[in-house]
Every structure is written in structure tokens, then in C-alpha cells.
């Protein structure tokens, strides 16, 4: 199936690999001959802060930033981050969420509480696909860093992208020596 227009918001914690994920989405848009813009966050927020990356695909893209209420997909590498950005989801959009918990410092210090029922809260209001991407990454790729690729696998499957197109986009963005483990992670997410 060929995609025509899609807005994907990738959210997570600095260091989880949101930049690589968005670049693979960018490559995919290129395969389909579509216009694409990606907006990234560099610098201070990457030090364990909340990070958000925008990927917009269409015949013609103007703003590189997805507006509130305009995301077809929110791909959350951490469940608290899914909660933080729900205003970006369009009516009828889907949240794909990794159930992994990474505690923010205010929770570690006791100044705030981590919501105990984050996924349940999300499911009350939105279409949600939740999965333990960390476990899948460890099992399929043997590496916790492959969480981002597992999540992409799920996204591409829901977008109706073929696995072979997804693999082509992946191969264009990762170093050859890491391609096999990343392909394993992609497939594990895709076939979930």
C-alpha cells in the first residue's frame, strides 16, 4: 500500500534514538517520491530530557512542525512521554507506546509521582498499541538500543508499508555492521 500523507510525532527520552527513527521515516518518504520534512531537537534536551521529533510526509509539506491535533501517529518510546504529547494526536489517530518506564528526575527525587496507570489512561481516550519494546529489542537484537527500531517496525506495519520497503529505508540509515541486528528488531516489531 502506498502512503500519501502522514504526520508522525516521535517522542521519548533524550538518548533513545528518536533522531535515527525520524531519518528512516524520511528515507521511506523518499522511496515513495513524496515530500517530507523532519524537525529535530539537538542540544540540551538530549541530556535525558523529554524529546520530540516531527516527521511530515505529503505531496507538498510546508511547516516542518506538526500542529496540535494533527498527528496521525504518536510513536512514544516511553509511556510518560506519550501522555505528555497527546494534544498532538488527531481525532482517530493512533498512539504506539513502549511500556518501558524511565523515571524523570522529579520522580526520582520524590517531587512528583509517576502515573501508575499511564497506558490505561491513554486507552480510555485514544486508540493505543502498547508493547514492551525493550524486551522485544533485547530478545530480537540482543541490544536495548534497538527499542527505536522495534517501535518503527510496529509503525510501518500500521502504516501499511511493506517490510521490504521498511528494510530498504533502514539499510540506508544504519551502519552496515549493525544492519543485521537492526533488521531483526525491525522485523520483530513489524510482525508483532
Amino acid at each position: 500500500m502506498k502512503i500519501k500523507e502522514v504526520n508522525i510525532l516521535i517522542v521519548g527520552v533524550g538518548g533513545q534514538g528518536t533522531l535515527l527513527a525520524s531519518r528512516i521515516i524520511g528515507k521511506l518518504a523518499g522511496l515513495y517520491g513524496l515530500d517530507v520534512k523532519l524537525s529535530e531537537v539537538h542540544g540540551m534536551a538530549q541530556r535525558g530530557g523529554s524529546v520530540v521529533t516531527h516527521a511530515k510526509i505529503a505531496e507538498r509539506v510546508y511547516s516542518p512542525v506538526i500542529g496540535e491535533g494533527c498527528a496521525d501517529f504518536i510513536v512514544a518510546f516511553e509511556k510518560l512521554e506519550a501522555l505528555r504529547y497527546t494534544q498532538y494526536l488527531r481525532d482517530g489517530g493512533t498512539i504506539i507506546v513502549n511500556t518501558q518506564e524511565i523515571l524523570p528526575m522529579p520522580v526520582i527525587t520524590g517531587a512528583a509521582e509517576y502515573p501508575s496507570d499511564a497506558v490505561k489512561t491513554l486507552k480510555r481516550s485514544y486508540a493505543v498499541i502498547s508493547t514492551d519494546a525493550l524486551a522485544i529489542a533485547l530478545k530480537s537484537a540482543g541490544n536495548a538500543k534497538a527499542v527505536n527500531i522495534v517501535m518503527l517496525g510496529i509503525l510501518f506495519s500500521k502504516m501499511g508499508v511493506t517490510l521490504s520497503d521498511a528494510e530498504t529505508a533502514l539499510a540506508a540509515c544504519v551502519k552496515p555492521e549493525f544492519l543485521e541486528i537492526n533488521k531483526a528488531a525491525l522485523k520483530a516489531g513489524y510482525t508483532l
Binding site: 527520552v13 533524550g14 538518548g15 531519518r23 524520511g26 528515507k27 523518499g30 515530500d35 517530507v36 520534512k37 523532519l38 524537525s39 529535530e40 531537537v41 539537538h42 542540544g43 540540551m44 534536551a45 538530549q46 541530556r47 535525558g48 530530557g49 523529554s50 509539506v61 510546508y62 511547516s63 516542518p64 512542525v65 500542529g67 496540535e68 491535533g69 510518560l80 512521554e81 501522555l83 505528555r84 504529547y85 497527546t86 494534544q87 498532538y88 524511565i102 523515571l103 524523570p104 528526575m105 522529579p106 520522580v107 526520582i108 527525587t109 520524590g110 517531587a111 512528583a112 509521582e113 509517576y114 502515573p115 489512561t121 491513554l122 481516550s125 525493550l134 536495548a144
Partner: protein, 580 residues
């Protein structure tokens, strides 16, 4: 070679400079400008360097331009402040080879300490400024900037904002045009700025600017799209993209040249439309220019001086459309010092000793966050030392005994050295801590004069920080391992008890450089004392029963927490120990 590819705005600026035949590029890293230099360094035809600060970088580029080469200097908005001294006067001398200055603003302060608007530098120094709106324009405008620089004998600004610098869109790469070095001819009246010659050059500046203004139509990057005439919008940069998304039917004047503003074109556009709105991030720069020229318009009556604009915000302000807000609760997640960060233990000691800390710009600004909460002031690059010195001069020795300045290695070299010389020269009683993590950390690990490597990856002489501070006259220097907390505490206590300027250099490479990543620690039979939670390590979490756990995937194995546990509960697991 003609190839369309997805490119970061910063990479596109580098590509444009490369294609324009740039020979020399100098910069100091600063978000959101850093990647320009990192990309340009990959082109073998271009000499590219990290300079110790933006002023040094600027002067390198000026020298190269005088010598007849096309040259570029790149910096973040606050870097322009550092480079402003040569910048104002090179506007007088003009250039020989083309000189392009990239200034990257940060509306919304994703990684900055203020939201200053670089466009005012263009106006006050009389330097033309171009503003691209996506990666394609980043490349094209950079090439144009070199041409204009040579045609009008002036440096030319390319201004970006975070959303342009750090967004990716399509760029068509083209061949590089190799240009011969222009001959350098000695010309004292042009290149030697003292009153008698500067008076003459100032006349040229005004003439040049008038000529540039008159030629704006021919320069051609200001564009008008006439659609529905009931609403006309004037904008530039990424805001143009927001306007096209929010108001597809509106008439739009997009300014590619934001200084000087083409007021004639604006008047023509204003006459066409019923309602005229200027939409711009940060200051009312274009709006004020229009109002001074007698053009009635709206602008900052609708939009704030703060933060970014978005398509949703434009629809909200112009059409009253609501912006969807979040109704789900999520506790904040501020950036933190990484697991294994060598700064963590030092800040724990400073906090424990209840010292007043003037800190500086870099990752270690994060020492201000709870639970370390060890920082009192952060102002600008290099300011920590001057602030500690001034604090002591005002409040006296008793206070200074509790006051320390904290600065990183790259920031110390950037602009801390003069502050240290001042403190020594003027008989200060301060303690300076240099947190030497052997890199420029926050901007993403760039080399600097004390790392032994250049931007191009070649080896370089290593600036010896100990010898440097001693040469400044600070004779008392203690060097400690930043992971060795008892040693850090002893050194800091010893240093603050001394008269005069004392220095502690805490050494340990940044944990993200991958050189120090060790076997993860684990907690067994936790006594719930909570000591390990006081260092604010993201790898340590508290369980519901009050015990603590180390998350193995996140632990860098630095062992700082193990040193704090009075009960010896934090150890490397046995099976892992055997491996090491």
C-alpha cells in the same frame, strides 16, 4: 553531479558554502549552529577549524577574506555578542574574497540562555542579512550571500532559527565552483581602521547600503504571492512555512532579505491588501521598520515576543481557532546530568559543603537541578570567574571563602582565561573549579585546544590547563579525579581555605565518549538510607518499599554512588566482577 537528498538546514548551509567555493570556515560550537562546521569539515577542499571562541573564529574568517578567499564563520546568536567587535568594523573595511556570517537564533530557547534577535546586529552594523525558510533555501541563500558579499564589498549575514537549522527537507546538491584566490593588494585606507581611514570608510558603508537597497528588486529573493486580498501577511524564514500552512488563501510577502527591508516593495504590497499583518518570531524588527516608514500594520499586538510561532498559533490569532491542549498529566522531565557524568560527584560535594557557586555555560549548568541544586548563578560563557571575583570584592573574604566559580574545559578556554587573569591581577580570594571532561560536551562532543585533535581530525598541540592557570598567576593548583569524591572534597576544602586565587582541576572524560563505561553496579540488602538518591543519577530509582535499585541498562559503572553508601550495599555483581 545533481542529486536530491534530505538534508538538515545546517548541512545545507555547509553544502551551499562548499558549492560557492568557500576555502576557509571557522567557528566555535553552539546549538543550533554546530553541524554546519561538522559537515563542512567532511569536504576535503575546504579548510575548517574549531576556534577557541567566536571572536577568534570571526577574525580567522576575516583574514581569509582579506587574503582573497571565500570564507565563512558560524555561531549561535549569543556567539555574535562575542564576535561583535571585529564584526562592526569589518563592515567598514569590506572584504576581498566573500565573507559570510551565519547567526543561528534560538526562539523558544531549546538550548540557550536568552532569546536575543540577531537581526538587530545587521541593522546596527549595516550588514545585509538573508533569512532562508527551509534547507533548499539554506543552500541557495548561502551561495547568494557569497555573491552579494563580493558584489557589494560587504560581509553578509545568513540568519537561521532552530527550526530551520534543525529541520530536514530536500536539497539538490550541485557541483562546487572552484574559484581562484583573489589577489590581495595592500590598501591602508581600506584595511587599516584608524580614525582618518575609518571616517572615509563610513562614507562607503552608507553608499553601499543605499546601492544595496536600490538593487533589492534585482537581488530577487523577496517574493510576493497575491491571493485573497483581504489579508496580507509579511514574514520571513520558517514563519513563511507556518503562514502557508495556516493561511493558504492569504496574500504573502516573503522577505528573503530581512535587512535592509525593502520598504518600497512593502508599500506596494500594503496598497494591494486590506489587512496587513507582520508575523515574526522574537522582536518586532520588520514591524518597527514598516511603522517608521509610515506603513500601517499589525504584528506584536497579536503575537508575543517570546517563544516560537506555529501554524496553530497563527490560526488562533487570526481566526480564533482553539489550540488543542493536553488534558493528561505527565510529570516534567527536565534534562539531567547523564549516568556516569563526571560532574555529578563534584556538584554533590559543592552542595554538601553549602558553597555559593557561580557556574557557567555547558552541561554542568545542569548541576542547578534538584537534587544537586548546587548552582547559584549562570550568566554567559566565561562569566563564572568574573562573578565570583566581583562577589568577593563586594562581600569580602568571609563570603568568598564560601564562593567558588565552576567552569568546563572548553568554556574556560573560550572566555574564562581573561576572567582568571583579572582575578589574579586584582588580588582576588576566589576558588576556581575547572571541570575537565576533555570535550565540548553539551553541543555534542567537539574538539577544542586541550583535546589534542582538530575539527578535521588531525592531531594538534594540547593546551595544558594546569600550565595555563599557573601562567595566569594562579599558583595553587590541585588536580583530582572527578570520580574520587573524598579527593574532590579534600581539594575543594583545601583550596577555599587558601588566600589568593586557588584552582582545582577535576579530570574525567565525558561519560558519553564511551571511554569510561564500566560494569554496572547493583544494590543488595538496601538499608533505605537514601544517600545514593542524593546525587541525582538517572540510573538509580526508588522502589515503592523505599529501597533503591540501579537500572543496569542505564548505569555507566562510575561507582560514585558506591562510595556514598555507608553500608557498602552498592557493588559490582559477583559474576560481572569475575569477567573484569
Amino acid at each position: 553531479m545533481v542529486k536530491r537528498q534530505l538534508m538538515l538546514g545546517n548541512a545545507a548551509i555547509a553544502r551551499g558554502a562548499y558549492e560557492a567555493g568557500v576555502r576557509v570556515v571557522s567557528a566555535y560550537p553552539g546549538t543550533p549552529s554546530t553541524e554546519i562546521s561538522e559537515v563542512i569539515a567532511t569536504y576535503k577542499e575546504v579548510y575548517a577549524e574549531w576556534a577557541p571562541n567566536e571572536k577568534a573564529a570571526f577574525e580567522s574568517a576575516v583574514g581569509a577574506a582579506y587574503a582573497g578567499a571565500r570564507a565563512m564563520v558560524c555561531m549561535k546568536h549569543v556567539g555574535v555578542n562575542v564576535a561583535a567587535d571585529p564584526m562592526f568594523t569589518v563592515a567598514y573595511t569590506g572584504i576581498n574574497g566573500g565573507l559570510v556570517i551565519v547567526a543561528a537564533d534560538d526562539p523558544g530557547m531549546y538550548s540557550s540562555q536568552n532569546e536575543q534577535d540577531s537581526r538587530f546586529y545587521a541593522r546596527s552594523a549595516h550588514i545585509p542579512m538573508l533569512e532562508p525558510s527551509d534547507s533548499g533555501e539554506c543552500k541557495e541563500f548561502t551561495k547568494l550571500a557569497f555573491e552579494l558579499s563580493e558584489r557589494y564589498d560587504t560581509p553578509v549575514f545568513v540568519r537561521t532559527t532552530t527550526r530551520v537549522a534543525h529541520s530536514q527537507s530536500y536539497v539538490t546538491a550541485e557541483e562546487r565552483k572552484e574559484l581562484p584566490l583573489k589577489p590581495y593588494v595592500k590598501n591602508v585606507k581600506k584595511y587599516t581602521m584608524m580614525p582618518s581611514s575609518a571616517v572615509l570608510r563610513h562614507i562607503e558603508v552608507e553608499k553601499r547600503e543605499n546601492k544595496f537597497k536600490a538593487d533589492l528588486a534585482e537581488i530577487g529573493v523577496n517574493t510576493i504571492e497575491i491571493n485573497d486580498k483581504s489579508l496580507g501577511i509579511i514574514c520571513s524564514g520558517v514563519v513563511y512555512q507556518y503562514v502557508k500552512e495556516a493561511c493558504p488563501s492569504a496574500s504573502v510577502l516573503k522577505l528573503g532579505v530581512v535587512y535592509p527591508v525593502d520598504t518600497e516593495l512593502v508599500r506596494r504590497f500594503a496598497a494591494e491588501v486590506k489587512r496587513l499583518v507582520v508575523i515574526e518570531e522574537l522582536e518586532p524588527f520588520i514591524e518597527d521598520t514598516l511603522k517608521a516608514a509610515g506603513v500601517k500594520c499589525e504584528g506584536k499586538n497579536l503575537f508575543s515576543l517570546q517563544g516560537e510561532i506555529s501554524a496553530a498559533l497563527i490560526k488562533n490569532k487570526l481566526y480564533g481557532e482553539k489550540i488543542k491542549t493536553n488534558t493528561d498529566y505527565a510529570p516534567p522531565r527536565p534534562p539531567v546530568l547523564c549516568a556516569g557524568c563526571p560532574h555529578r560527584g563534584v556538584f554533590y560535594i559543592l552542595s554538601k559543603l553549602k558553597l555559593t557557586v557561580s557556574a557557567d555555560i555547558g552541561c554542568y549548568t545542569l548541576g542547578a537541578q534538584a537534587p544537586l541544586s548546587a548552582v547559584d548563578t549562570v550568566l554567559c560563557m566565561g562569566a563564572s570567574i568574573g562573578i565570583a571575583h566581583g562577589f568577593e570584592k563586594a562581600a569580602g573574604r568571609a563570603q568568598s571563602n564560601k564562593t567558588v566559580a565552576v567552569i568546563g574545559d572548553s568554556t574556560f578556554i573560550h572566555s574564562g582565561i581573561t576572567g582568571l587573569i583579572n582575578a589574579v591581577y586584582n588580588g582576588s580570594n576566589i576558588t576556581l573549579l575547572i571541570l575537565d571532561n576533555s570535550t565540548t560536551g553539551m553541543t555534542g562532543h567537539q574538539e577544542h585546544p586541550a583535546t589534542g585533535k582538530t575539527l578535521k581530525g588531525t592531531s594538534a598541540k594540547i593546551l595544558d590547563l594546569e600550565a595555563m592557570v599557573k601562567a595566569c598567576g594562579a599558583e595553587s593548583v590541585r588536580i583530582v579525579d572527578a570520580y574520587d569524591l573524598p579527593a574532590v572534597e579534600k581539594a575543594v576544602k583545601g583550596a577555599i581555605d587558601e588566600d589568593g586565587v586557588s584552582v582545582v582541576i577535576a579530570k574525567r572524560p565525558c561519560a558519553l565518549l564511551g571511554k569510561t563505561r564500566g560494569v554496572p553496579y547493583a544494590i543488595s540488602e538496601c538499608k533505605r538510607c537514601g544517600m545514593c538518591g542524593k546525587i541525582g543519577c538517572p540510573a538509580i530509582r526508588k522502589n515503592a518499599d523505599g529501597t533503591m535499585t540501579i537500572v543496569a541498562e542505564q548505569c555507566a559503572g562510575c561507582g560514585v554512588c558506591a562510595g556514598l553508601c555507608k553500608f557498602g550495599c552498592i557493588k559490582k555483581p559477583e559474576k560481572n566482577l569475575k569477567k573484569t
